[in-house]
Structures are given as C-alpha cells and as structure tokens.
C-alpha cells in the first residue's frame, strides 16, 4: 500500500486525544457513596455490562474515526495483486492495435495499461513489443528485438492503429532471435477478439506463461455487409441500400446509423437486441453512388464505419443464340444508357462475331458445328467471358463435347412432362436475390435432360436431374428458355437468375468494393483517399474511397475486424491463457472513498450509541 499524501498519517497520532479525554473524564467523575450497590448490580446487571461495553465502543469508534479520517486524507493506494512488484522476466508484449481498438479511447487505454503493467517489472527485465496487426512499426531493417524497460515505454507510445487484421499466431512466429536472459512470458493487451486467437500456438505457451490483459471491448456492433436491395433492377431515380448490422454483445445496443454521401445525409435511430441482427434500408438517389455509413452509440462514439460504393457493372455485351423470345426482352433495359447489358440475338452461332461479346447464351440449340465448337472453346478460355447453355430437346455430339468440361449428358431425354425444382443451394451467390422466397422452388420444368455434373451443382430437379451446373465460366441449365418448354419464364425470378448467372460466370462485380490489405493490379493510376498516388502492388491500407483510373472504389476494413466476438474466459482457460483485469489485478485502487464511507458510518454509529442506552 502506498500513500499519495503520507504526511497526513501523522494526524493518526491524534487518537491520543479521545483516549486522554476518556481517562480524564473517568478521573473527573464524582465519587458518590451509596448504601449498597447490591440491588443496582442485581437489577441492572445486563444494562451495566452494556454501558461499560458502550463506553469502550465509543472510545474505539472515536479512535477509528480519527484513524480513518487521516488515512483517507493520506490517499492510500493499493497495488494490483496479480503481479508482485519487481518481477524479473523477458516479456513478449503483444499490443492489440487492430481497428477495434479505435473505439473511444481504447487504444490510449491499451498504452496506459501497458505502462501500468510495466511498472510491476524490475528495471532489469527485458521487453519485446509486438503489434498484433501489421504497421510500419517493424520493417526489414528493424526486426523484433529485446529492449530495456526504459525504452519500452517509448516503443509502446510510438505504436499506431492498424486497419489490418492480425492473429497472435502470426505475431508469435516472428520473435526476436537473440537469447533471453530471464524466464520468458507473453502478455497480450487487447480486447481479445476471438479470431485473434485463431490457431493459437498452444505448444509455445505451454513452456511459458501467457497473460491476457483484458481491455474492455468498446464497440460491439458491426456492419456486416451493405447490399443493394434489388441488384437486378436498373434504378432510374432512387435505389435502396440495405445495411446489415449485428450486435455481438450480450446487451441491447441503442444508437443511430448515419449514411453520408457527398451531397446527402441520412440518419436512423436503431435498437438491436443482444446477438441479433438488424437490416436498415436507405433510399438513395442514383447520383449518390458512394458514401460512408457510420454507427454511433449513445455517447456518439463511432462504433463502426463502412464505406460503400455502388456503381453499375461494366456493360456486358450479350449475344443470344437460338430462341430469343422473352430472354431478349428480359435482359434488355428500357433505359439503354443505364442498362448493364447490350443484348443482341442471332439464330445460328456461325453468325456470331465472338470478340464483340462477353456472354454467349445458347438457348435450346441442339447441335453446333465443329468450327463453332472451336470458336466457343477459344471464347470461353478468355478472361471474363462466359457461356450459358440452356439445353434443348437434344444435345448433339459437338455440343456435348463442348459442355463435357463441366458435365456429362445422358441420352435419351427422359422423363417427359415436367418436374419441380426440389433443391436449391441458396448459399450460392447466384441465389442471393431469392433468399427467403419460395419463388424458385415453385418453378416447373417441362423439358430437361439428365446431366451428371462434375462439380458445382447448385440446383436440382425432382429425381436425380441437375438443373444448374456451374463450372468456372460455363453454366449449364437443364432446360430450354422458351414459353413452350417451361413455365419459368412466367416467373419474375428467372430474369434475376439469368442476370446472376451472367455476373457470376463473367466475374464482373456489380459494385466495386475492396478490403484493407488487398491490392489492385489492373490499373494505371491509383489515388488514395489521402490524395497521394500509390505505386503498383501497394496494399490498400486505409479505408476510404480510392480512385482507380477514372473509377472510384470503396475500401473497407475486413468484416472480421468489426466482429467483436470476444474470447470467453472458459476458452482462454482451455488455451492456458491467464486473464488479468485492469480493475482487479492491476489497478491501483484509491481507498480514500471507502475510508470516508467508514468515517461516515462511524459518525452514524456513534450518534446511534449516544441516543441508545
């Protein structure tokens, strides 16, 4: 125990005053002769006992009053009990500088906690500071190394937040190579997000103590994803943006979500129950193509930031070969300037000028010529080109050879009549737009052929007849796209499905979003949000909007970084991690207030005793 103002302790000697007063008062008491105390003693024995006890109690209380009063004035501090003072070790300090520590003043708290922790160590101890997430802290010229207690403070204070994710496993794989002088121990200071402990090196920490100094996690809310409500429709005036938010904590979250673009600002209050999700919908003008979504908690601390960017995909040139009824009109837009597709149709494949198109849709074609097959093979081997094949009543050999890279087709066609779609892999991005609906399942097919997929079956018909096979940039749909062969064209869901097929097979994103740590190779000019131009291969380190050539892209933190699922105490125990808390194990607790409460209590007790006989 230490005292901030130890001089006040001298005041405790004043306890002599009540003792002297007590003795003096006792001496000063008048002596009265009385005939006999026999009856007094007999009748009031209990009361006399109590009075005598009360007198002593009052004296003790007065002494305690003075003692506690001066103790509280001296401001006693109790050191944390976990670490003994003067600890001599070689300490690997893993400082959590991940994005989650940006919440409030958490990163400052991390540094303060680290400094507090260091005060328990002997000046002879040696330290190695390792940031959990990559920063410029250590570069090739500056490998992790041991430093003295004196320099470690400086190193910790130099640490910056990183927008990259990190894991303890990775950090501990890059330890100083020099030998240690003392027993090694590991201390991780951070909020302890579960994914930081992924593949935790248990073997390593078995040989040494691993401590986790817990920093309270601030933000517990995360924007999981931002999506267009209807990615298929071609917006003319407004479009809807869905913001999916998850509350990872055990407590309800009350706050607001703000969406800011260059010209617009939207704000929504929201409440999310523990471990629940919320889907917020913002109606934005088409011109508001990108912006920033920020979640604020009640205290207006930014809990989570998400940069969104919505731009139309690069326009794809689509050629429909075969029956073009419905499909052509389905993929064409009334507003050609904003349409994602430029659609043409021909009856025969030999008429197609392949280099002009990105997507070739074969609809109900029975057979192709040898030369067409070669053309198709060449076409499909190019990047960001795709072929979608809606099978007709027959599949000729050349055609069969062409699609054999993704599946085998068995002849003859059977059965006749129609079958119902009975299984859909809704987890596949193609079906994202259908999630929660039964539209696809109700679709009936009149003509289909049995196909055996090599891989990528994502929907099946009744029996064992795959409906949709995806293999890289070739999709095979086991039915023809005509009103006579199937009633799917009557379902509004099918056009979005085709749209999705095209996107997935050509790998063209419908909005351009990257994550911190990623890099873009196909550009000539890359401008960071800070305004500086980046060289090729540079990782995107800061979230925000970058300019890639003439386009703007959004760069976000990795969604995991927003996921604040904390490692539980039980899990920590299993991993042989010893947890330390700031309040109980390290913090110096000021006992002044407690002592003042005691003083107050003593005053009350004495008043009570004086009133009570």
């Amino acid at each position: 125990m230490t005292f901030l103002h130890p001089l006040y302790l001298l005041g405790i000697s004043l306890i002599a005053v009540p003792i002297i007063i007590h003795l003096w008062f006792k001496k000063r008491l008048k002596k009265i002769p009385f005939s006999t105390l026999r009856f007094l003693k007999k009748s009031e024995a209990k009361k006399f006992g109590w009075l005598k006890f009360r007198e002593i109690l009052i004296l003790v209380l007065r002494c305690l009053f003075i003692t506690f009063l001066f103790l509280s004035l001296a401001k006693p501090q109790i050191k944390g009990k976990f670490f003994g003072a003067g600890r001599l070790s070689s300490v690997i300090l893993v400082i959590d500088n991940s994005y989650s520590m940006a919440y409030g003043e958490n990163f400052k708290l991390v540094k303060e906690a680290a400094n507090e922790l260091l005060s328990f160590y002997s000046p002879k101890s040696e330290f190695c500071v390792l940031p959990l997430c990559k920063t410029e802290f250590y570069n090739n010229d500056n490998e992790p190394h041991w430093v003295s207690k004196k320099s470690v403070f400086e190193l910790i204070n130099k640490l910056n937040l990183s927008y990259k994710s990190g894991s303890i496993k990775n950090v501990l794989s890059n330890l100083p190579t020099s030998t240690t002088n003392y027993r090694v121990e590991y201390v991780y200071i951070g909020d302890g997000q579960e994914f930081n402990f992924k593949d935790f090196p248990e073997e390593l920490v078995k040989q040494a103590n691993f401590y986790w100094l817990k920093i309270p996690s601030g933000g517990n809310i995360s924007i999981n994803k931002v999506t267009l409500k209807d990615p298929v429709s071609i917006p003319l005036d407004n479009y809807n943006l869905n913001v999916h938010i998850t509350n990872f904590s055990q407590n309800s979250w009350n706050g607001k979500a703000t969406l800011k673009t260059k010209d617009y600002y939207f704000e929504k209050d929201c409440e999310i129950h523990p471990e629940q999700e919320l889907n917020l919908e913002f109606l934005l003008p088409v011109s508001a193509a990108h912006g920033k979504i920020v979640l604020y908690d009640d205290s207006l601390i930014a809990d989570n930031v998400y940069y969104f960017s919505k731009s139309l995909p690069h326009r794809l040139n689509v050629i429909i070969v075969g029956n073009d009824r419905f499909l052509y009109s389905g993929l064409s837009s009334a507003d050609e300037s904003n349409s994602p597709f430029y659609v043409e149709s021909v009856e025969y494949l030999q008429k197609v000028n392949f280099p002009k198109f990105d997507v070739v849709i074969l609809n109900g074609i029975d057979e192709i010529s040898e030369s067409d097959k070669i053309k198709l093979d060449n076409f499909i081997n190019q990047n960001q080109k795709s072929v979608i094949f809606f099978m007709g009543k027959k599949v000729g050999n050349n055609l069969k050879n062409f699609i054999s890279q993704s599946c085998n087709i068995e002849n003859p066609i059977s059965p006749k009549g129609y079958a119902t779609l009975d299984w859909v892999d809704y987890a596949h991005p193609i079906f994202n737009v259908f999630v929660g609906s039964t539209v696809l399942k109700n679709i009936k097919f009149y003509h289909f052929q049995k196909i055996i997929a090599h891989k990528g079956i994502i929907a099946k018909l009744t029996g064992d007849y795959p409906f949709l096979v995806i293999d890289d940039n070739l999709a095979v749909v086991a039915t023809q796209f005509t009103p006579y062969n199937t009633d799917i064209v009557y379902k509004t869901a099918f056009i979005p499905l085709v749209f999705r097929l095209i996107i997935n097979t050509t790998y063209k994103s419908y909005n351009k979003e990257f994550y911190v740590g990623e890099n873009i190779t196909t550009y000539t000019k890359l401008k960071a949000p800070t305004g500086e131009y980046l060289t090729k291969g540079t990782e995107l380190l800061v979230p925000g909007f970058y300019t890639v050539d003439s386009e703007t892209i959004g760069v976000n933190v990795i969604p995991e970084e927003g996921n604040l699922k904390i490692l539980g105490d039980g899990a920590a125990k299993i991993l042989n991690i010893q947890t330390i808390t700031l309040d109980n194990d390290l913090a110096e607790s000021n006992l002044s207030h407690t002592l003042l409460y005691f003083v107050l209590f003593i005053i009350l007790l004495e008043l009570l005793l004086l009133l009570l006989y």
Binding site: L29, K31, I32, P33, S35, T36, L37, E44, K47, F48
Partner: protein, 296 residues
C-alpha cells in the same frame, strides 16, 4: 412550632449533642402531643400514701384515708414492669448512608427515644448492636443504670462492615430466650427472603416484632443526575453509573423490594414501618405505642 415538638424533626435533633437529652426531648415532645396519657391503665401495685397537693387530680384522693385521718392523701402505686423490649440496632456500613443525616444517626436517636420511652414506662429495655456480627448486647432491664448503659452503647455505634442481617437475627433469636417485644431498626439490606425467614424465627419464639425499615429518601428516589462513580459503603466496590439511564428500573426494583417486605411481614404478623430519615420521630414512636397498646 411548640419548642418541645421541634425536636421530633430529625434535622433539628441532630444539632444536639447529648443523646440522653435528645431522647428526652423527643419523647417529651411526643408525649405533649398525645391526648391520652400513656400511663393510663397501667397495671399498678400500691406503694405509699402521699399528701394531696394542689394540682393533683381530686379523683385520686383516697377517701377512706380521709375518713380515717381527715386529711387528703393520695395513693402512690409501684408501677409494674410488664414489657420486655429488645432494640436491635443495625450499624452496618450501609446504615452510614445519608446526605443530611445518615440512617444510623437517625436510627440511633430513634433507638434512644424508644429506650427512654420504655425506661420511663418502667419497661425492661435491652439493646443489641450488630453489623456482620453482634457487636454489643445489653440485656433488658428497667434500671436507670441499664438505661445509661444503653445510651452509651447507642452512642458508640458507628457504621462499619457488611450486613449479614439474617444471620444476626437468627443468632439473636437464639439468644433472646424470654419473650418480649423486638424492635428492629435496620435498612434490611440483605436477601429479603432470608431476612423475612429470620424474623419469622422470632415469631416462633413468641416474640412480638416491630420493624423500622430505615431508609434514606435518596435510596428510594435515586435522585442523582450526572454520571458518577458510586461506591458501596459496605464492601467499598465501585461502579460508574449513569443515574438517568437506570433510575426508572432501579425505582421499580426498589419498590418491589419494599412491597415484598410489607406483604411478607404482614403475612407473618410482623409490624413493619418504613421510616425515611426525614420522617419526624413521632411517627415511629406512635407506631411503637400502637404496638404496645396491642400487646398489653
């Protein structure tokens, strides 16, 4: 106030030094207040004739003698001693308590007065003083020399020692073989049950008993206010007491004690009189006379 009566006040009496004088003044003062002569009705035996003197009651003239001698003679009678009285005076430490006049002083004057009165009535009177044991005992006699001895014994009595009243009473009951009137002057500070028992032992020996429970008003009222160290006059033990805290319950207990004595002694046909040290002596003497009247 009639001069003779003022000496019935204990405080006034205390200013006098001679005990015999005190006793005389008390008794005379008391007698002057009585309407009926205490001498009346005494059983008498003829002693001698005496010439009638003015002032003598004419009814006392012996007319037979007048017939024989033509002179007025009055018959004088030898008064008979018909009462044997024992005064038991408690001189234990507790009797020394009293603020203006202590209990023992009061008891001494009362004893002397009673002795004087008894002596005057030609009754045999004896005395025993005691504290933890019997200190002095003078057998009853109606002689003047005995009375003088009694006064000396009373005068000597000083408060000391603890009370073991019941033991003493048992011993005295053994010693006082001839039946008579036992007058106990004490504060009765002993175990009430045993005190009553020991007094009953007198009754068993056909003694008549008159108890003067001598108390100071303070002992009943406990009028002290400030915290003080109270020390026991008998065993010198000390206690710090806050009177205002315990007064109520003390008074209650003390009242219970007095009620106990009153009830138990009445039950045993023992006359019991509480005499506070500020009570005029006539009250006590009157009690005695009432008792005597009943006895004769």
């Amino acid at each position: 106030m009639i001069i003779s009566k003022k000496y019935l006040n204990p405080e006034v009496l205390a200013r006098l030094s001679r005990l015999d004088l005190k006793a005389k003044l008390v008794v005379e003062g008391f007698m002057s207040g009585l309407h009926l002569s205490p001498y009346k009705g005494f059983s008498q035996e003829f002693a001698d004739y005496r010439q009638y003197m003015p002032g003598d009651e004419p009814k006392r003239i012996d007319w037979k003698a007048f017939g024989r001698s033509d002179r007025f003679y009055i018959k004088e009678y030898q008064e008979e001693t018909n009462l044997r009285a024992y005064i038991l005076l408690d001189k234990s430490g507790s009797m020394g308590y009293g603020r203006k006049i202590n209990k023992l002083e009061y008891a001494k004057y009362l004893s002397a007065s009673l002795a004087y009165m008894l002596f005057k009535q030609k009754d045999s009177v004896g005395i025993a003083t005691f504290d933890t044991e019997i200190r002095e005992i003078i057998p009853p006699s109606s002689k003047k020399s005995n009375f003088t001895q009694i006064l000396k014994t009373i005068d000597k009595a000083a408060p000391s020692g603890e009370t073991s009243l019941s033991n003493i009473l048992f011993q005295l009951a053994q010693k006082l073989k001839r039946r008579g009137l036992v007058i106990l002057i004490s504060d009765l500070f002993d175990e009430p049950e045993t005190v009553v028992k020991s007094l009953r032992s007198f009754r068993c020996r056909k003694h008549e008993i008159l108890v003067f429970h001598t108390l100071d008003v303070d002992e009943y009222k406990f009028p002290f206010n400030k915290s003080a160290i109270f020390y026991d006059l008998e065993d010198s033990s000390e206690m710090i007491i806050q009177p205002n805290i315990i007064r109520e319950s003390y008074q209650k207990k003390f009242k219970e004690l007095l009620e106990f004595y009153r009830y138990k002694l009445l039950e045993s046909h023992i006359d019991y009189e509480i005499i506070y040290t500020n009570t005029p002596y006539d009250k006590a003497l009157f009690s005695y006379l009432q008792k005597r009247g009943r006895l004769l």
